[in-house]
Amino acid sequence: MTDNRNYLGHRNGIPAGRRGECGDYLLYADRLYKTYPDGEVRALNGVSLGVHQGEYVAITGPSGCGKSTLLNMLGVLDVPDNGEIYFRGQPLTTRRDLDNFRARQIGFVFQSFFLIPTLTARENVQVPMFEGPRLSARERAKKADDLLALVGMSQRAHHRPMKLSVGERQRVAIARALANDPVLLLADEPTGNLDSENADKVLDLFTALQKDRNLALIVVTHSDEVAERADRVVKMRDGRVVADSGADIIPTSDSAATS
């Protein structure tokens, strides 16, 4: 009997049979499947993962193993073919206001920073605030200043990305990710474009944010150094979780599901 169930129809929270497994996770991915239409390869093959508030999780694995796909699913940038993602026990994929959810609860940090070149650091940080809690222009600017101070970029607030070093750009990108005070920070290879000194600074910043803001931090990385700093390391291969250093490991996939 396959457990390849689709929970997209469950609007009232975690299905009764899964409540025990979801526990008190902030975010719980329940048997996610994803196959891209342009290929036969399953990017995700029944991945389940639970993340607690304030937990720092590193997802590692070889290229093409589905790390980034999983991160996109967790960040509701993409939806699984099968499976469900629960946030504080509520299913996400059937929500109509995913944009709003993303704006208020999730911060993204990318390998290539993706700052808007025409805006200053201060303005870049304000971009997500158009969709967060309602703030006046003055309040947005003040909050951006505070966030830039938090990441040590106050002195460079009025510089455009081209005038910033790569390390500085990533710190601005982190400040942007914090714009709407998210509870979950997702980072895709955040140190991939940084030298070791800047990578250390960014990782220190992540650690500090995790502790100070009680952020759940999920980082996709190839870097052992990044993984070493995490509370928990999840290893993936061929679209599956093959190892999880966390104490409360959730079964990655049913044998039936892989058949």
Binding site: D78, N100, R102, A103, F108, F114, T118, P128, E131, A137
Partner: protein, 399 residues
Amino acid sequence: MYFVSFILKNLARRPIRTVLTVLGLAVAVGSMIALLAVSYNVERSVEAAFDSRRVDLVVMQKGKPMGWDSEFSEYFVRETAKMPEVERVSEGIVGNANIERDGVLVDLGILLVQGWKPDNFGYEDLQILEGRRLLPGDRRKVMIGSTLANNLKELSKIGPIGHRVGDTLTFVGDPKNPYEIVGIFKSPVIFEDGGAIVPFEDGQELHSKRGKVTGFSVRVRKSAPDSQAEVETVKRKIEALRDPDDPYVVVVADTPDKYVQSVSQLELIRAVSWLVSVIALVVSVISLLNTMTMSVLERTQEIGILRAVGWPRRRVVRMILGEAACLAAAAALVGTVIAFLGMQTLTKMPKVNGFIEPDLSPWVMARGFALTVMVGVVGGAYPAYRAARLLPTEAIRHD
């Protein structure tokens, strides 16, 4: 930072492309505004003149939409004047004429020469700038409009030609030349300002319409200023008149606004202005579509990021439409300036300045602005739709 600042900064990203797009749109929009203004000004000036001259009905020959090719017997004027409901009538003869200098034609384009009787309604709002108006008993005298006077003055720099009070003008084909200029006037009607007025009888001879009129205006005795019942009665009675000597000639009596709408020259100006406007709008939409599509394509990754940080599709649409609307608004402003300068230039050209008033009314500007913003919305709609459809994950991966 305000959302609108973000939009403006996006436009500033490619300043040359933005400026070129605005200029391209502005030229199209400028031509549209200029033509709308020309059309509007001509109609408005004619309507205003009829209004100030308190004309209730304009009588012209039926089936002669050109206006000045209307021609019928003075019998209609006389019979209308006898009607008890009619307060006064004012007939005129209108035609195109040419001026010659030393036997050589002076090319002034269309020069309207009207023949007026001394009691013509037109004198009531004619402003005499120099000399005097035409008086009873005057023959071979002419009053020239201020625009014509200026045109002739310019021509006098090339060779002698009458342009001042006391000078003479020679009309081509009139055996009783020359005409003495007795006055220079300013009329509220644009084409009157670019033309000349001669005594009624001289006009009939000049245009070879002896015993005929081009048309006449009627003031009706009304029980109340806005009463239309008497006007309608007089209209029916005039249209029922038949000249015993030429019973096949039929006249129509229209209210001034209806008359203005029916004059074929004005219809032509309107039609041309709308045709050019439509072409300009289509060109503008395509131009904007091209610019905005390119802009969206270049920023695919960035739009993916905006979606990733929580921007919903509607905000992406607002951003793209906002950029398109800003381009269109800038084009409308520059286009208005281009239209104004273009019209100023046209008023210096003797062949057309008798028909163009370099005036941009708020109504025309508002209409031009509204049409241009519509161009912005239409031109930005498809790129906005494309941008909104982008999936964040695919957009971020876009190279």
